[in-house]
């Protein structure tokens, strides 16, 4: 039940945002995000963004996975 997927913010109006991923579009709440911006990736669960996805950290983890030994 804790499944949540990364989606990209396309538009923000007050505490609501339009997000998209893999052709799916949704309007969600961004009430508990600090300074959400268009272009941010956010983790979406039950109609709300629960956290931002840090794209720099994501790339770091991927690099580490590629080089892991």
């Amino acid at each position: 039940m804790c499944l949540a997927i990364p989606m990209k913010i396309l538009k923000i109006t007050l505490d609501r945002a339009v997000v998209s991923s893999g052709g799916i579009r949704r309007t969600i709440g961004v009430n508990f995000l600090k300074n959400p911006r268009v272009g941010d990736y956010v983790i979406v669960h039950a109609g709300f963004a629960i956290e931002k996805l840090d794209t720099v950290k994501a790339e770091e983890t991927l690099k580490l996975l590629e080089e892991i030994q």
Binding site: C2, I5, L33, A46, G47
Partner: protein, 361 residues
């Protein structure tokens, strides 16, 4: 999908699997627990358990909210839907859970139960239908609670008098601590939940790690995340130094999501809570706090007394604690299957019995 597909790369997965095999050579048998039901699903779906060496045992924990919701909660929710003018709103996962003599699914056919994707949908329905009373079934851990809290705040802002929460919410750390203490379960490492941690951060795991000397790795839900986290746990065990590591740093901050945490503890306060199959765990549940009692279904509704029967022969309690596997249960796949679930772990698609049934049959 971006930031999902990259973490499912098969050649890297194969490499980490080989690394796990190599690192685990000569290691005394260890039990690692994946606490969260979403981890359990991913572990079964991607066949991760089968790739592990015999001396690294991955056991499933109690982190499936639907599974640990006690039967009398379901019976009460069913009874609520019988009251005139009340409509019960729920996440879809809850509907199949069998109560003592009925289920929410049966009530749905009478139009008294509705499924929503977001709790906000239920409060917006309440706003448009003020002649009806709406009860939202608040089920879920820290990941879900802020979304429910935001909906309650919305109801307060709009001065709604017809929106209520029946809170069955639970929090994860007290259950983990109970398992950490349990000598029979004998956990040597926790794969900590991804999105619960996005909300609560790392501090609770530091306490568990220090107090019980158990390695903790916060792990994402994709296969590469899980495999890397298992490798990190093995390396911690070998180094004999238990610490908290954050594999899922792309989402989980050390502090957690402070705004979400503030919202949770504005709307809810901590109470004891009954976990199906495990029993009451002190300070592991959430009830509506003082300022939000007008939205508490239990405090504001006259509910008929319900009689709840005990599940006979079901070993979900031991399965939820990782002491037994579904294959040890006499009911598994015979009397108890996804179309006709008997015990809690078969009910939700994230339950360990349902996962075993789906991916191993």
């Amino acid at each position: 999908m971006k930031y999902i597909d990259e973490f499912r790369n098969i050649s890297i997965a194969t490499k980490i699997t080989e690394l796990i095999q190599r690192e685990a050579r000569g290691l005394k048998p260890v039990n690692f627990m994946e606490v969260c039901g979403t981890h359990t699903m991913a572990v079964e779906r991607f066949g991760i358990r089968k790739t592990l060496p015999d001396n690294v045992r991955l056991i499933s924990g109690p982190g499936c909210p639907v599974c640990v919701t006690p039967k009398d909660y379901i019976d009460k929710a069913i009874a609520m839907a019988d009251i005139e003018n009340i409509i019960v709103f729920s996440f879809g996962d809850m509907l199949k859970v069998p109560g003592t003599s009925s289920s929410l699914l049966k009530q749905r056919s009478k139009g008294k139960v509705k499924i929503v994707y977001s709790p906000l949908d239920s409060v917006q329905f309440a706003e448009k239908n003020q002649d009806k009373k709406i009860i939202f079934l608040g089920i879920g851990f820290e990941t879900t609670v802020p979304t429910v809290a935001a909906s309650v705040k919305y109801a307060k802002k709009k001065k709604l008098k017809n929106f209520f929460i029946y809170s069955g919410h639970k929090i994860m750390p007290p259950a983990m601590e109970l398992l950490a203490k349990d000598k029979e379960v004998n956990i040597k490492g926790f794969l900590c939940p991804a999105h619960v941690s996005a909300i609560i951060g790392v501090k609770y795991y530091r306490i568990i790690c220090r107090r019980y000397n158990i390695p903790c790795v916060i792990s994402g839900f994709e296969p590469l995340d899980i495999l890397q986290s298992i490798l990190m746990l093995i390396r911690q065990v070998k180094s004999k130094k238990a610490k908290v590591e954050n594999q899922y740093s792309r989402v989980v901050k050390a502090s957690g999501n402070i705004m979400a945490l503030r919202l949770i503890y504005e709307v809810f306060s901590i109470s004891d809570s009954d976990w199906r199959g495990i029993g009451v765990i002190k300070n592991s549940g959430l009830v509506l706090s003082k300022g939000y009692r007008d939205f508490d279904a239990e405090k504001n509704m006259d509910l008929p007394d319900v009689k709840t029967s005990v599940d006979k022969g079901c070993i979900c309690g031991s399965v939820l604690k990782g002491i037994k596997t579904p294959l040890d249960c006499k009911l598994f796949s015979k009397r108890c299957n996804p179309d006709n679930p008997y015990g809690a772990c078969m009910v939700s698609s994230e339950g360990i019995c349902a996962a075993y049934y789906r991916y191993r049959k």
